[in-house]
Symmetry: D3
Subunit: 284 residues, 6 copies
Amino acid sequence: MNWIDEGALYSQIGLFLREDLGRGDITTQSIIVRNTRARARFVAGQDMIVAGLEAAEEVFLSLDSQQQLEAFVSDGEPVEAGKVIARMIGFADVLISAERVALNLLQRLSGIATLTNQYVKAVDGTGAQIADTRATTPGLRLLERYAVELGGGYNSRFGLDDGVMVTSNHVAILGGVSSAVKTAKEKLGYLHRVAVEVSSENELKDAIAAGADVVVIDGPSPAEFLPLARIARELSSSVAIECAGKITPANVREYAAAGAQLIRVEALTSAATAMNIGFQVQPF
Amino acid sequence: MNWIDEGALYSQIGLFLREDLGRGDITTQSIIVRNTRARARFVAGQDMIVAGLEAAEEVFLSLDSQQQLEAFVSDGEPVEAGKVIARMIGFADVLISAERVALNLLQRLSGIATLTNQYVKAVDGTGAQIADTRATTPGLRLLERYAVELGGGYNSRFGLDDGVMVTSNHVAILGGVSSAVKTAKEKLGYLHRVAVEVSSENELKDAIAAGADVVVIDGPSPAEFLPLARIARELSSSVAIECAGKITPANVREYAAAGAQLIRVEALTSAATAMNIGFQVQPF
Amino acid sequence: MNWIDEGALYSQIGLFLREDLGRGDITTQSIIVRNTRARARFVAGQDMIVAGLEAAEEVFLSLDSQQQLEAFVSDGEPVEAGKVIARMIGFADVLISAERVALNLLQRLSGIATLTNQYVKAVDGTGAQIADTRATTPGLRLLERYAVELGGGYNSRFGLDDGVMVTSNHVAILGGVSSAVKTAKEKLGYLHRVAVEVSSENELKDAIAAGADVVVIDGPSPAEFLPLARIARELSSSVAIECAGKITPANVREYAAAGAQLIRVEALTSAATAMNIGFQVQPF
Amino acid sequence: MNWIDEGALYSQIGLFLREDLGRGDITTQSIIVRNTRARARFVAGQDMIVAGLEAAEEVFLSLDSQQQLEAFVSDGEPVEAGKVIARMIGFADVLISAERVALNLLQRLSGIATLTNQYVKAVDGTGAQIADTRATTPGLRLLERYAVELGGGYNSRFGLDDGVMVTSNHVAILGGVSSAVKTAKEKLGYLHRVAVEVSSENELKDAIAAGADVVVIDGPSPAEFLPLARIARELSSSVAIECAGKITPANVREYAAAGAQLIRVEALTSAATAMNIGFQVQPF
Amino acid sequence: MNWIDEGALYSQIGLFLREDLGRGDITTQSIIVRNTRARARFVAGQDMIVAGLEAAEEVFLSLDSQQQLEAFVSDGEPVEAGKVIARMIGFADVLISAERVALNLLQRLSGIATLTNQYVKAVDGTGAQIADTRATTPGLRLLERYAVELGGGYNSRFGLDDGVMVTSNHVAILGGVSSAVKTAKEKLGYLHRVAVEVSSENELKDAIAAGADVVVIDGPSPAEFLPLARIARELSSSVAIECAGKITPANVREYAAAGAQLIRVEALTSAATAMNIGFQVQPF
Amino acid sequence: MNWIDEGALYSQIGLFLREDLGRGDITTQSIIVRNTRARARFVAGQDMIVAGLEAAEEVFLSLDSQQQLEAFVSDGEPVEAGKVIARMIGFADVLISAERVALNLLQRLSGIATLTNQYVKAVDGTGAQIADTRATTPGLRLLERYAVELGGGYNSRFGLDDGVMVTSNHVAILGGVSSAVKTAKEKLGYLHRVAVEVSSENELKDAIAAGADVVVIDGPSPAEFLPLARIARELSSSVAIECAGKITPANVREYAAAGAQLIRVEALTSAATAMNIGFQVQPF
């Protein structure tokens, strides 16, 4: 992540805290003496790839800069159930008031990294890459892409402005793959490579004939994908061949074996669930 | 949702669009003639409770106020796989550029409403309520709580500032349930009812003795929950009895039958996944 | 005050300075050499409870972090006319440019604390509490409540979202105290205690019969209050008894003696005037 | 008020509502059916000059644009105790939820206009003007100056950036009135007239000798003011003569009679208290 | 320009007005009766390509939505000295208060469009394109690029995030063109075409050998450019050939004739000066 | 520049960087190892007055606070072509990513200071001052005025709110110079001096007769200016005499010699072009 991204991340954490704290944690402020020193630990409740530990640390620091986190694994590393991920030293009130926001980030991002890593391991050695999509949680794309990367996935275009993809809805309006691709090449080909979604042999052929740099074969079973990928390679030695659709950790290797160079998986971000991670506070 | 909330929702949608569009949808702007009239429809890819249709409509309207959505079901209603949820008339470029943000909201919120509804149906007739928790996606709590409500769930406190809950981490710092509850009652009891998490028979007894208005029995199996709920009711006719922990649609009815008045389920928001909903655009 | 509150306070001080300085203090910048070292002192022009000294310090620090304030009394402490409240060391231009904003805060907040303290002393030993209301200066509620607390007063609900109060206007719309209280108890009683304004014996009885947790007897003279308070206590040993209306430092003790547990006084914030405090700058 | 000012005013009202409503008016939203039509009226509880009625109307409109206010007096007009100031037609929930913010503005601004008007009437026919100062409530200067104007007062400089005033603190640093005024004339005299605070005959003479355009005689009793004003006029036929200090409605006419052209009164904004104005809602 | 861009443009205009008006146009507000109807016209003081007329219209509308502008030429069209560009009907105070901001935009943007058009005409018929660079006025890139486009120029990458360009400073750090281009192709070549700045024959050869999609020959005279462009074309039939440096309207055609497909000219935005355009207001 | 101004400047620099970097410098981040130490230097490509060096330094620091700049000349000092203006030590990626924004500021502001200085030198010894106008780049007025000051120019009013100027458009609406000036004196003369634009002998006489403090003779040739300036001085020994219009470095001294005390030159900011300044990065 770069300078701008980190800045965006920090400002978001302030908003996340405000969402949860509102006018303040009335319970904690009423019953815990301010600045009581305490320690805490994050404990993994299941096997996972950890993601979001730095973000979680930022949550505590945003509330009070004197909290200290010592991590036993780094973002992107695996951890087994029962292991302590990190421990903290700080103030009881800060630790408790920031706990939920920190966990919400850490649990969700670790869920994405862990799911991504299942796909990545499944295609190990094939040379294929597992890529994310724009099916992210609104407002969290930056963080969720970071989790995908930590899980070993590839970040495809961030948004509609930094990559060219002709989709089936574009094709429906323009009346065919061919004219859509030609127009895109003419208007945008100077700076960008042009990708196009295709869902039949005819569309595939039209796309390549029109000069598409990347074809995204959308929705096939592994058995359907294989002959289409072969045709694509026969028609062009340079076109990039991708697939998208309802790809699972169980069948993803078949697509890779059939020639998919990049596999786009919506589920990485839209079907990941929060990992089980506990946060236990204790007096010092 | 109230006035203030709606305002917050609208401003967020602008941010969501900006996240996805950045400096603009370069593909669509290059290949689709501006203001080409088109129609589109949302199609359910699986059975679900729909949630977020109004939010999705707002996404399109935020980009261009001339888009029209006609819904065939309202937020909170069930729909079967294959059915058309809504259709739209508008401009091709607007429909395509806003599609992904609208779907990201609609798919995710419908996922939460659908999962919530499974829990709600499972306790049908018992009088128990299924409540959400603060384990929401950072930045989306307002929308996710709305989806829980649409699924038939109960919204517990929004954040740390509008409800009192003594948790196990508070107890750890204070050295016991009793003093924690007493302090909370003294400081906050004038305006609020005091809830406390307990995880053993002793803690339960201490909590009720100290004047807790609500006891949240955390983590028991249904078999463990039953005797604790009985003890609570014997000790106080007025204390509210809740449970929390790893509750599933399969076992939730057992807790209700054992006397849980309100069942807090983190999974409603932390384990829901996006529903399969398609969006197909066509020329007019 | 908590983390969130302090953050809110600091951002406001920036706005307060911008309001007064606009594009800059043209007089001072033209005639005072920048960074000329100087000292200054705040002098009490009348007896008062000091409030807002930390806020005033923040004003100077917001303009330039090298100013130092040494306080001779703390916020909430009394000071006699003629005494030096605090002295400062810093730069002449900063001290002069920030003076007015600092004084505007300090004088006004000290006015509120001082007036509050008159009421608090008047009920000394009775056990009754003097509470503020929402009749605060728009935009300054956080600071004004803080001043009330420094004067010995009790902070009632911050706003419409963190406490339940059925007012006479609610009752007028709903056609009676009884249904209003019952609905409020049913909808909100799970998390909150329900307070209701009453202005007659009948309304008082209806409120208690409907389950009100708190009755606020609004507008009576001390003589009228006494019998109503007695009836309330006879009907319920647990209902909290409050009064509100045109209560003065001269008559407040009568209400306390008649059984008011909490006395709501709009004047604490709406009728307080600025205390006379001078600020004298001198060369070093 | 101009375009820019009105824009500033509206954005502030949104903040004022947010301060009071937070996440929403939980009482009203729970017990009043949304969009129940209702009417209301503002009733004067004492004689006053009304100020802030348009601002109050904006408060209701900011919450819901369908509220209608019919005013029986305009901002700046007098009203007697017991009279209805305005009546409203709208929705019960909106009227009740916005009531407190609207009253807080209307009561406070009317207090300022009423107090200002007492001073203005006291100097009627003398030609002297009653001017406000920068001793305003932080964040509300725009509105409070507007109230002063409605009461018949004169708005002096808005802030430190749009007028030149050499104060006693400037003089203390610079070691004398003479050099302070000369520097200010040299640096700022091209665009601005230069005012200077003086508190003795010597300072007065130095100021005029140094070319001050305006002398502000600070702190004298009426008896002390008279000879100083005479000296000023003898020394210069064009210098403007002002006074400032602890001026009351009872003694203000003496200053005017002694030659004060403009009388600066901190109390207009720092000692005004909220007027008694009621707001009664009824079903339609 | 797209939806997002227009939104950004409008919000900027509010800031531009605030910069000039501050707390308001004190002269106009004091001497012109509000809402006095008036008319005005923009008159060209020299031959030019008009750019920014819609932006200028927005300035007036931002201040008051009732102003009407009738344009006699559209943005991007030429106009001769002495001609009326547009006329307006509105209010005298609004027209006068907004005049300067509107002119500042219109004059500057027309200056850019006019200068760009000189370059564009100079290469007419050669097939070469005149492109802008990132040497724009900070904060105005969106508007200045728009003016370049109106003048017939080509918009190259908006910023550092939407196009890949290896510059001489990158090469200096990496120790050679070859490794820089190879790394860029490997990391970014999947979505983007890679451009590289070269300043010698050796660098040019290395760049093409390393797979550069675009070579930008930086700084040559037309005589130096010709042989380098020939070598580039001999080495690759597909590499795009660009030039950059101190190109003038007088010599630009030589570069085009020598084979430059795209000519990057910093001067379009960094050396354009404001066009002479008058704005005359008259009573109605 | 004062505190408020500096704050405004810093916030703008963040926006300038965001404009150029968007989601990040994809080229640099891909090919330069993060935090590679490097050095760089700014080299003057022509003779100039340097302006904006501190602003440029802020650009680098805003991206990463560890960059160090050592300046060999200060803002406002002259430098000859070929000389090194400043050198930097820092990180290669930061230096390269911030380069363009820093140069855009430094080149443009130096252009303004250099052009201003040509005018200033041309009137050397005459006592006349060269003043800027409001013909600045929207959004950059603060910085551009600063550059004018560095070049030896005089900053006239910042905006419409801090100075009074009756223009020809005001006069057109009011039907004559005389009434316009009289109204302005009456309404604003207490705090401000009143300037008025005149373009004929009659208008000049009317303006002085009506009490104008400053006359701005607009549009004359030097030959036309001389007799008007004489008339003005004959009519009033105190009126300030200014001129405005198409003044060039070649003819400006004639106006000064003819009696212009202050000469308003739009070109200082509207016709300045970017200076040629290079930025060369090298490995350490």
